[in-house]
Amino acid sequence: MDDILLLDAIERYLSGEMSAEERSYFENLRKTTPEIDQMVVEHNMFLHQIADYAANIQIKQTLHEVHQHLLERGDLNEGGALSPKGKVIQFWNKYKRVTAIAASVGGVIALFISGLAMYFSTSVNDPKLEQLGKDLEVVKKNQQAQVNIINEVTSKIPTNARLLSGGSGFLVDPKGYIVTNAHILKGTGAIVVNSKGAEFKSSIVLIDHDKDLAILKINDEEYESVKSIPYSIQKSNSSLGEEIFTLGYPRNEIVYGMGYLSAKTGFNGDSLSYQIQISANPGNSGAPVFNKNGEVIGVLSTRQAQADGVAFAVKSKNIHSIIEDLKKSDTAFRKVKLPSKSSLKGVERKTQITKVEDCVFFVKAYTK
């Protein structure tokens, strides 16, 4: 019981609850009784221990609460294991406005650019345009139909090679340089067939997809250079209403067609080509377009899908520019020379055709 009273006195003393009189009495007691003094020191220390212990528990509690709070708010992330919201969801919540704005800006820009591209593009991939190259199936059918002929003539197409497409082409240099459309040459090589059905091996020496023009070179011992090319390649532009004719291979046989020049620009104002009124079919691609004097004014390339007789020809001055490109590309091509004079002026159409047909070839593209 005395211990408890003493303890109570010490606690009251330490917490300052004693009256001044009691306090001075107690301090006197401490001085005269070392045991009591020791007890006071010890108890003081112990009370501090308990107080610190209590504070430690409280700060731990605070930290725990803060941690949970921040976790719930998404300021902390513990791999989603303890978090009520997933990492992705937190990320989404944080950035959903930014994402929405970015997505709509992106969408608007995409629409705008595709609109621009649609407006300016004169691409032959346009559904309104048809390239006049013949695809594999057409050629195949013809091959099947004409099986006898094919059996008689040993084809120059390498074995195991697959025919891809066909079109027309015409000589621009007697040594065997042929101009055709780039879009015909889908495969790795091509053979050319003349109007008499003789096949010659050829290689692609230049291809320009922008102009849709290509140059083939006949590499065949059986090929005999023509003496001269009867037509010239026009450098200037032709006039509206000019009468035109073409020779090409929409079938395995050379086909004549005629019409007139209907516009100075091509599809959607494409300045690289003319619009012409002519009956054109797949296989006519790459065929020369002549004026009545026998000058090549263009290369037949595409037709408008929903308009009958509306076709487009790449302007002949582009032939001049790709020949220049070819000369620059290799010294071997330095001697390539375009025919400059037409010998067909004032000549009857039938005679013109007879002279020209030997220079127009059926182009068959294949891939190995």
Binding site: N56, L63, L76, A81
Partner: protein, 188 residues
């Protein structure tokens, strides 16, 4: 470098166990420590333990009257965590010889030893309190930890008056003191 006034205010808040200040310090520093622990073979749980331990060390430091933090809170916490995690890794035998982290550190050895000592004392107190048995444990917890007043305690524990409760509390306290000091002095 002396912490700026904002940090001083935060530390003052921490010293008084102000949850607002604790939250700001927590939010500003936890992610860095978590990344450090995760990058060095630790788990999310371990990151939380280590960080809270460092916060307690900082809290203890802030209690002292002569307390001055000579660096940024961030640097201090990182230094403590690094020291603590190194020790944990060694204890668990997971230490691979190097520890990645490019933050600036300050010497925390003294504070660290102090903190360890405090932890040891708290562990003794905890054991002593738990071996008291009821109702002593709850009575002392009510008075010293929850700071309840004697009348309220008497009512809660069913003593007829506050004086009886007080007597009982002293008896319990004497037992606790005995238990504590027997352990404490061995520890010394």
């Amino acid at each position: 470098m002396k912490g700026d006034t904002n940090e001083q205010a935060l530390l003052k808040g921490l010293a008084h166990n102000d949850s607002k200040a604790v939250e700001i310090i927590y939010k500003d520093n936890f992610n860095m420590i978590q990344a450090f622990i995760l990058n060095n073979n630790g788990s999310y749980d371990e990151a939380r333990d280590i960080f809270q331990e460092a916060m307690i060390a900082l809290y203890e430091k802030s209690q002292s009257d002569s307390f001055v933090l000579t660096c940024q809170i961030k640097t201090y916490l990182y230094s403590i965590c690094r020291r603590l995690w190194l020790k944990r890794l060694q204890q668990m035998g997971r230490f691979t010889g190097s520890i990645d982290g490019f933050e600036e550190t300050v010497a925390v050895e003294e504070d660290w030893e102090n903190h360890e000592k405090r932890n040891a004392e708290f562990a003794i107190m905890d054991r002593a309190l738990n071996s008291l048995g009821e109702p002593c444990k709850s009575l002392l917890q009510g008075y010293y930890l929850k700071k309840m007043d004697m009348n309220a305690l008497a009512a809660e524990f069913g003593y007829t008056n506050a004086n009886n409760a007080k007597n009982q509390k002293y008896k319990c306290l004497m037992r606790l003191k005995k238990l504590f000091f027997s352990q404490y002095n061995i520890g010394e």
